[in-house]
Amino acid sequence: MPKITAKDYRVEEPIDWCPGCGDFGILSALQQALAGLNLLPHQVAIFGGIGCSGKAQYYVNAYGVHTLHGRTLPYATGAKLANPDLTVIIVGGDGDGMAIGAGHFVNAGRRNVDLTYILFNNEVYGLTKGQASPTLPLGLQTKSLPEPNIQGNVNSLMLAITSGFTWIGRGYAYEVRHLVGLMQRAIQHPGLSYLEVLQPCPTYNNLHTRDWYAGKDLEDGRSRLYLLEEDGYDPVIPPGASSEMIAAKICEFTARAQEWGDRIPIGVFLENRSVPTFEERIGKRIPTYRMAPPARRPIADEDGRTITDLSGIFAELTMA
């Protein structure tokens, strides 16, 4: 089999993002990450939300599903549970995931299905022209807001850990090499992965721009972004970890997830291997689940007759 390259994941479609948009970096990282894992394009299904970011799935040569605003997670969950051999990736914006889709985000965490959710965080609603999204801090005023933001923001990393996501990371749209690695680790993690990507939106977010992330306004001119792994941070919760250890990890996680402003961490925040996946939980109830998942379980014989044998159930219901 010839080696898969990023080219296999490219499509001819014209890309309709604004010039300089952070989404380009994320897209390129995604194509490289998939190729690097040597996955065949048809084995991958990408579920997009509604927004500029949700369009990313059109630009990848793989099965692409552009869902409804906020509904990426349930669509993707259905596909993955029905066919656990698919590699399922979700792409969508902060408005999509943290506002209209917040309920699904929390409940996806409770299940821990083996999915990878990549959230493009530009702190605004791009496609509807720059309204504040749930990740924009209280009181900030980006250029398309008539007044400063009157609502507070949600910390999506914190929401992810309290909801039960078992892999949590953060990347930056212009650190493509680093992002490729993060995506690959997220995809390889057996369980629900949440990767937040800080994404400049040059059209609407004039506060947290590429220059701002690069720290151009800071005295020492040093990038605001630092790598967690270079800072000695260990995200791993091993299988069978004690509750004390988990509590300690969550404390460290929380401290890092709160950092914002002059120092912003990127990298892997959590890799929790102590929680069984939803697929494993189903497998306990349905021993043949992996072998004959819903997408592939035979349901008819050659003549199209149903093979379901209800005679046992009918016997219970038969009165005689």
Binding site: Q57, P74, G78, A79, A82, N107, I313
Partner: protein, 647 residues
């Protein structure tokens, strides 16, 4: 049954949570095992414990299709049931009640609402009787009803002593005792009751043993305390016992889905749909004829938006996928319905209507969603809407829904109601071997394909159907989107492609109308050539069939046209029947006559008479018969509302 009556109507009522349901199932099994046909109807409040609930079981030696308003033998737990139903018991019938509730003032019955109390008080005033259960019992006696006071506590104390168990444990058999008292009065052989217990508590020998002892005590009690000679209802078992299934509507649908190849089901809890998914989950693993593993994955989601979208996601991979809900849930699902429509997703939605709008009456029945369901969603997209009139149809339709969904690549809505979901009935065994699985036009992946796209998933075809690849298949890569799209699924706003796609999707329904067999569109019952034409849909079928029989006894012939395919509407085949209809009567369980509107919009024929019921309860055969008789005799208003304040 006595000689004057062809059937027996037994009712058990009491506070929710006191085991009314179990009592009814035990009684139903005990009569079904003896070869009787039965029809059961369940009424309850949206409450877990305390409010009034009751179960009607009608028993006969011929198939029964609906409940009766009158009661022959009433078994009550507590004074409320006695107060509410004593009035419905017929002359010659009987009332079994707890000795403690013999004289309870109506004003002390906390859940007896003001309206019901005022009605009963007026009734008692007319007869010069006190406002109490004693007054109602006295009224019953005057009307020739036998009354039987049962001291349940004494019987369970005796049982506790006999078995040397605490009284509280023995008290658990009260339902069995009540059923046993009924059966003893009906002179039903206790062996059937014992068999019924074995069916009700499989694998629990201790429970069975205790209940068997309770039955003995109850029979003994009846024989020593009551003179049963003047109670002339009897259960005489069938000479030849034919095995039949005893089940309810939720079970019939669940089994139909399993037979139809369901592998993935989602739901968010809601009455009266939940029981179907719970039953499916109980049967997650089941055998298949060829030894391959059979299973269904059932997921309880966070809401109905998730239920419908998750089921759609699964359907895209090739799984036969469904969700089940009722009106409030379907309202939330409408967003996902449109997505399934434009993406041509074969998705099955089972919708059990209940009293609406908003939260409405969660545990009561209505057919108020027809117009909503056939039009639900913004914009235009094809969908198929099926509706079943009884449990047998519900089973086969549930299986067939998947075939339609996959053949036409559309969402299919199987529209039922609470009445049908909670109907228990004996039915002839289902013939699973008659079920065919048709998966529609599928794309076959080339061997050894590397998976480079794109594939024209939405190819413009003459039939409107484009061969469908499953997510994950090599060579089939395409995109799906809620936006208008080109053949590979990429968003487009091109006016020409837009027209082509709209037309392609619309053509699928034309094809469906041509292909779907006539008797899956509608069925005609009664005298096919009679001009007296009744048109209806869903669970009213049973009541109308009984009404037609009663009319026949009066030498009036009528025909029922039972609509089974609500969308696309089978207008062409219906037109000749409508042309020869005189009068044309539409019968349905809603206020406005939603089917009548659809009929007029689709065919131009309006109803001469409309018979409706919207108090949240199903129609009985008697009610429909009286209304039809009045119409036939020219004594009816064009709009007839069926009412019964004692349901």
């Amino acid at each position: 049954m006595n000689e004057h009556q062809k059937d027996l109507a037994w009712r058990v009522g009491g506070p929710q949570g006191s085991g009314i349901d179990t009592a009814a199932w035990i009684f139903s099994r005990a009569v079904a095992i003896a070869g009787f046909h039965l029809f059961g109807r369940r009424e309850y409040y949206s409450n877990i414990m305390g409010r009034h609930s009751y179960f009607d079981v009608r028993v006969a030696h011929h198939p029964l299709t609906c409940h009766r308003n009158t009661v022959d033998l009433l078994t009550t737990f507590g004074s409320e049931a006695l107060a509410r139903h004593a009035i419905s018991v017929v002359k010659g019938g009987g009332i079994i009640y707890h000795a403690d509730s013999a004289d309870e003032p109506l004003s002390r019955i906390s859940f007896l609402d003001a309206r019901a109390r005022a009605d009963l008080e007026a009734y008692l005033d007319e007869r010069g009787l006190p406002h109490s259960t004693a007054g109602l019992l006295e009224d019953a006696r005057r009307r020739g009803v036998q009354t039987y006071a049962v001291p349940y506590d004494e019987i369970t104390s005796a049982l506790a002593k006999k078995l040397d168990v605490p009284k509280a444990v023995a008290d658990r058999t009260v339902n069995t005792i009540a059923v046993a008292v009924s059966c003893a009065l009906l002179r039903h052989d206790p062996r059937y009751l014992i068999k019924a217990l074995e069916k009700t508590f499989p694998g629990r020998p201790k429970v069975i043993h205790m209940n068997v002892q309770a039955i003995e005590l109850a029979y003994e009690f009846v024989q020593t305390h009551f003179d049963t000679r003047n109670f002339d209802f009897r259960l005489i078992p069938a000479e030849k016992i034919e095995p039949r299934l005893l089940l309810n509507g939720n079970q019939a649908v669940a089994l139909g889905k399993l037979a139809g190849g369901l592998t993935f089901q989602t739901y968010y809890p809601i009455s009266p749909a939940t029981d179907e998914s719970v039953y499916l989950e109980e049967h997650s693993n089941f055998p298949t004829r060829n030894g391959a593993p059979g299973s269904v994955v059932v997921v309880q989601t966070e809401d109905e938006i998730s239920a419908v979208t998750m089921a759609s996601g699964a359907a895209l991979t090739g799984a036969r996928s469904a969700t089940a809900t009722s009106g409030p849930g379907f309202s939330l699902m409408v967003e996902g319905l449109g997505w399934a429509g434009i993406n041509e997703v074969p998705l099955v939605i089972t919708l059990y209507q209940r009293g609406s709008p908003a939260t409405g009456m969660p545990t009561r029945s209505e057919q108020g969603d027809l117009q909503f369901v056939v039009h639900a969603g913004h914009g235009e997209f094809p969908r198929i809407v099926l509706t079943s009139g009884d449990l047998t149809e519900a089973f086969y339709d549930a299986a067939q829904a998947f075939n339609y969904a996959e053949r036409y690549q559309v969402p299919v809505i199987h529209l039922l109601d609470k009445a049908l979901s909670s109907t228990t009935q004996t039915v002839e065994p289902f013939d699973v071997s008659s079920i065919r699985i048709e998966r529609g036009e599928l794309y076959t992946p080339p061997p050894g394909g590397n998976g480079r796209g794109p594939y024209p998933r939405f190819a413009i075809t003459e039939s409107g159907i484009s061969p469908r690849p499953f997510l994950g298949q090599p060579g089939g890569i395409h995109w799906l989107t809620g936006a208008e799209h080109n053949t590979i699924g990429i968003v487009t706003e091109d006016p020409v492609i837009r027209e082509q796609m709209v037309e392609k999707r619309a053509r699928k329904l034309e094809l469906a109308l041509r292909e779907i067999p006539l008797d899956e569109k509608f069925k005609v019952y009664g005298d096919r050539d009679a001009p007296f034409t009744l048109i209806s849909w869903g669970s009213n079928k049973g009541a109308i069939l009984e009404a037609i029989e009663c009319l026949q006894a009066d030498k009036i012939s009528a025909r029922l046209v039972q609509i089974r395919l609500l969308w696309p509407f089978p207008k062409d085949e219906l037109t000749p029947l409508l042309k020869s209809a005189s009068p044309l009567v539409v019968i349905e369980s809603n206020y406005s006559g939603q089917l009548a509107h659809l009929l007029r919009a689709q065919t131009g024929y309006g109803a001469n008479y409309l018979i409706v019921k919207y108090n949240g309860r199903p129609m009985s055969g008697q009610e429909v018969y009286s209304a039809l008789k009045a119409i036939y005799e020219g004594k009816s208003e064009p709009r007839v509302v069926l009412r019964n304040p004692y349901e």
